[in-house]
Symmetry: C2
């Protein structure tokens, strides 16, 4: 939508015909995200290509980049985030503070015990939205162990999880959005409520923005990046992971900032000047996840009631199938205070229930 | 875009294949806006139909409405605004303050002189964006007279031209946006700069919002309406004209208000609760008009420079042909103060020049 607002023609590759993005784009190519022929077709039709999902075949992108095609962020960054080990090693190599970790190719109770509890095990590949992550506080929980090549990470004593959206242009210019605070749902390990700005002191906020910019700058990223960080109870800031794309923690920018992360991404990859990242109103954001139960065609309840909440912006993505915990949309609430925005956002989420049509 | 955000499927009727709206919609019917068959096809495919242009064949809409189709605002309001005489007579009948006027079927120097100068002659039909209007201050200017059925209007001694966007739901609930101030370009008789909120005192602002709501309520309009008013030097407020659709004077709501006029329109016609009309940041808006010269495929200059202005949102409509003074886009600037927003908006307009490709 933002690219079209700026007058671009947009072609989308998506496996689902009439996909949400495809319906808005000028044209859609129907194809799998690991189909080299369809990826080549897309990139060759475009002056500039980008992606907003991480599970894409990298080799063909690297080949196309080698042929002189403009693909941002660079395919090597996509490869980096597809392997959590490579990502952590890059942070280490670049001198970016990150939680202590260890590579483990064949996880066993013994390896875990040797590394020491509490720990977080992360599968190197295929994780997304909480899948591929196991938190184990003691040896008793070793049954949660994932039997795939992984990293083990020291569990950080976390005060808050924070994130910063950073944009970096083709000329290397960077800008950072405000620091936001993420409250996670322990059951689904998914973002529960996002508060913008984060309730941290000004000095810590500047530190977090600085670290986020340093991270994207060190990686020489081009485009918009979500940088997730831990603010430890001892005051340390640690980079957790990056997303080389507009990020869930930046959806609030659509309503609350002078330039949305999506427009900013388009500006960055098209070599246009970056826009102001100023936030004008406090806000809270909640994701709308598929209800527990079966999968199927989605049915939405509570839209009318939720829309009556003043300052609530409801985004429904139009996905054809709902599954438990699948992101189906989000709600951003702007209000005079962060606390009242949060209350309204939680109320909206309670009202808006998305489940499969044949579920009770 | 706003309807799709709320999960609607959208079909558009437009004479140009791959029109700006058509490219965003789920589907486009290519056809003239006065073709009864294509209009019927559109309305029969939709649960709710609306329009955002006024030059549409009304009889077929009235017929379809009679068959039980939901069309908002009601076709009778479209008929009303298509005839400036009928519109003025309605204001008079409903007791809404408006400038004194007279019907004139065959304008002559004599009729004009009898009515008295200064006056404004408005063609009853076909006017848009300054076409069909002649301002004559004395008899010497009678050469500007339009030789079509018209109304003559007493020229009001204007302090400011102001406007209010009003939404009225299917349940009759109304809400009003802030009063905005419009500065007109005397040459093109088109909006030059819009300032939101208007620089008027709080009491006058409330009066203007009240009059705007009273107007839409009296007309029993459903949807979003632009209500243009004169604030006379003697303090009187007069209704000038209404637009039964999202209006140019409400484009600023996209960035500056909690609910944009477009989302509000969708809410109103779908019988959903209306959203907050609160403005969070002062702003100024300028239209981007085709440069004087020839018509043709548009060429845009100055995009990079204009995008570097902090807080500027540039909207390009993607129209296939530029003509002198044709609206090709607009720029909204949010800033800490109205004055700095205005300066930046004027700078953006100076930078962004849209002309035909073959013009120098």
């Amino acid at each position: 939508m933002q690219a079209k607002k700026l007058g671009c023609h947009v072609v989308v590759l998506d496996p689902t015909p009439e996909s949400p993005a495809g319906l808005i784009a000028t044209d859609q190519i129907v194809g799998a995200l690991d189909d080299p022929d369809r990826i080549r077709e897309l990139v060759e039709r475009c002056d500039v290509s980008t992606y907003d999902i991480e599970h894409i075949a990298v080799p063909v992108l690297e080949k196309l980049e080698g042929e002189g095609r403009r693909i941002y962020p660079a395919p090597r960054l996509l490869a980096l985030v597809q392997d959590k080990l490579a990502q952590k090693q890059a942070f280490e190599r670049l001198g970016l503070p990150t939680a202590e970790f260890m590579q483990v190719d064949e996880p066993s109770e013994r390896t875990l015990a040797d590394f020491g509890y509490p720990l977080v095990q992360k599968a190197r590949r295929g994780g997304y939205d909480g899948r591929g992550v196991a938190v184990m506080r003691t040896n008793d929980q070793a049954g949660k162990m994932l039997k795939v090549p992984s990293i083990l990470e020291r569990a950080v004593d976390i005060d808050k999880e924070v994130a910063v959206i950073v944009a970096r242009g083709r000329d290397g210019q960077c800008c950072a959005y405000p620091v936001v605070e993420m409250v996670f749902d322990p059951e689904a390990n998914l973002l529960d409520t996002l508060l913008a700005p984060a309730q941290v002191d000004a000095e810590k906020a500047e530190q977090a923005r600085g670290l986020a910019v340093a991270t994207v700058d060190a990686l020489e990223g081009i485009g918009v990046f979500g940088v997730e960080m831990f603010l430890a109870k001892d005051g340390q800031l640690l980079v957790n992971e990056i997303a080389p794309r507009p990020h869930n923690s930046g959806h609030y920018t659509i309503e609350a900032c002078l330039t949305s992360q999506f427009e900013q991404h388009v500006r960055a990859i098209l070599d246009l000047p970056l826009g102001s990242t100023r936030q004008h109103t406090p806000c809270a954001m909640v994701n709308l996840l598929g209800q527990p139960g079966g999968a199927g065609q989605p049915r939405l309840e509570g839209l009318r009631e939720a829309m009556a909440i003043p300052g609530a912006s409801i985004h429904l993505y139009g996905k054809a199938e709902v599954r438990p915990f699948r992101k189906m949309g989000h709600v951003t609430v702007l209000d005079e205070s962060l606390e009242s925005a949060r209350e309204k956002a939680l109320r909206a989420r309670q009202l808006l229930r998305i489940k499969a049509k044949d579920e009770g």
